[in-house]
Amino acid sequence: MGRRLVFLSAALLTLFPVMAVYAHERFIRHDLKVPVHEQYFARQPGMLLGMQSDMLRIATVSCVLLLAFLVVFFFRHNLDDFIEHRLLSGLRGPAQRALHHLANFLTDKPVMLPWFKTVSEWAVVLFIRSPALVLMYSATNDSLVMPSYPLEPTSAIYYKYIQVFLAILMLTQTALPLAGALVVGTWVYLWRWGWMVAADALPVLTVAVVYLTSPWQSHRVAITELNEKQIRWVRLLLGFGFFALGWLKIYNYHLTAGVADNYPDVMNDPMIGFFAMGTNPLFRRENWIVAFAFAEVLSGFMLMVGIFTRVWGSMMIWIFTKLMLVTFGFEEIPHIYPIAATMVIVFSNKLGSEFSFVEKLQQKAAREGKTWLRLATVGVASLVIATVTVYALLYVLTFIDRSHL
């Protein structure tokens, strides 16, 4: 199965040019009502890294936040030991058990609670079937996969029937490898609408991986649990989707600003406000775009690489649910699918990290009593990861004129 996944992913990656995603913006109104300060996103001669000062400030806040999360994560076992066995060592009985489960949940360790396992199983069932709901929703709205892809009246009926057929395979859990191939093939076809728009549908591939790695006799088995490799690929693909989605918010800032113009309440989010703290209110909308983008870049990145997966996954579930039920309403209903996918990850007891080698190096140094080496390993690794993740692409984007996108 491992070889199959690697081969498949390699084949998929060859199809990706500069991958970018922006999911929910396209489901809803995004007409720009007030012109954006274009110069904000362009190169600023004489400024550090050629970036607008507020943009640089938001990036720095994001970098520091990511750095802190990385450092804490790499010391998570030590911190867990310290809190459970030293700081709160006096706790006994239910309180001690509750603390233990909470610590395990927050640090991505297995949570051995019956209800947790039940929710986990249910999340897998929802995840495997929820794309069918999205397909049916799109079919009834004369679109393909999601409302971003309106169908031509001349061919709509055929694509609608194809979607219904695929939805039946999903709902009845029949021939899932075929369903997976149909999903991947349809996603490639979505490039017909252009790379930026097609990238919307990147998270769809997450479920395709699960389908493709399921048995042909899938209708005979109860799929309520994903194995370690499947969970890893779900995490990588979903996280990458949101990571790219965040960057696309900055790349195509007109569209993001258009969402704010139509739904001004989205600019009052406290979490995004945290990223944009201390910035010039003259560029409130521009700052919001960058802050919103970085909130997504960070959450996507941490989900992708497995750093506090459950913490960030839980926040994403909360945000998506809020957007779907409160902010944007029914037009966001296709987000049942990413919510289900994130739930699968959050409630999985088979989580891993792409940077576990840093943890291992740190623990090895600890066993050898090399305190400074421990600190240096974690410090340097965290700094490099955070800096490259935040600044590299942002710097490149300042060279690209996107004012006519």
């Binding site: 081969f7 007409d31 720009l32 300060h37 031509e152 061919s155 191939a181 490639v188 042909w216 004012s403």
Partner: protein, 252 residues
């Protein structure tokens, strides 16, 4: 349990992709032959291609021809329409397919200086048609000059130069991208759209500029095509929508 092999997965995926594209190609030819239509005329020369979302049979074509009769600047005799247009009788049948509903009429431009695109648009509308796209091709360098009846103050000027840039910036589907810059000539009550270099075989949809002006609240009296050779006003340096303050108007 039997799992799908990599080979089978790749074959199924490839078949899906090919199938979907083939279906698209088969059922939506109007989307695939858009640029080919522009290159259809082997002899080249300036052409105006009117894409009519409603041009389904010979009866429609006849009415379009009647509507355009007497339009100055185009050679209606040499106009070419869709080759395999359904007859009215065939179009009456229920099994006529929807892809044939829209079609293009290509009009060779005989006298560029006499062609008024507003008149072409109005002539069609007066007979119950609307051109979905008015695509200009075969003119590498040109500008469009829209004469307005109303252009009374600096705010009128600025609203055009700034908001046209805004329109260009906000359009997602590549609309108005062919415009390099906009200039408002207050004394002459004229709005000039300088087009980017138009490659051979490509087209610019000038109806976008027309509908853009309408969207801004202006109805041009005429819309004429001027070529680079006659250009009196060189294109402005700044692009249409680079900054929050919009393009270049006299009031700026």
């Amino acid at each position: 349990m039997k799992f799908a092999s990599v080979k089978v997965i790749l074959i199924m995926t490839a078949v899906t992709i090919l199938g979907l594209y083939a279906l698209d190609y088969w059922k939506n030819p109007q989307l695939w032959h858009h640029e080919a239509a522009a290159m259809a005329s082997p002899e080249g020369g300036p052409r105006l291609i009117l894409w009519m979302n409603h041009l389904c049979c010979t009866g429609c074509l006849e009415d379009v021809r009647k509507a355009l009769a007497g339009t100055a600047g185009v050679d209606l005799e040499k106009a070419t329409g869709p080759k395999e247009l359904l007859t009215q009788a065939a179009a009456n049948m229920e099994n006529a397919t929807l892809p044939d509903y829209g079609n293009a009429v290509t009009l060779p431009i005989s006298e560029l200086d006499k062609l008024d695109l507003v008149k072409v648009d109005r002539a069609l509308r007066d007979k119950g048609f609307v051109a979905g796209r008015m695509e200009l091709s075969g003119i590498p360098h040109f500008r469009l000059e829209a004469a307005l009846d109303h252009l009374c103050c600096g705010m009128c000027d600025r609203s055009i130069s700034e908001r046209m840039g805004f329109l260009k910036a906000k359009s997602q589907g590549g609309r108005l991208k062919w415009i390099e810059s906009i200039s408002v000539q207050h004394e002459k009550k004229t709005v000039v759209a300088y087009a980017r270099f138009l490659e051979a075989g490509k087209t610019d949809d000038v109806a976008e500029f027309l509908s853009g002006l309408n969207f801004l609240g202006f109805e041009p009296q005429s819309l004429r095509i001027e070529t680079a050779e006659h250009m009196e006003h060189p294109p402005l340096q700044a692009p249409v929508a680079p900054s929050g303050t919009g393009g270049q108007g006299p009031g700026d």
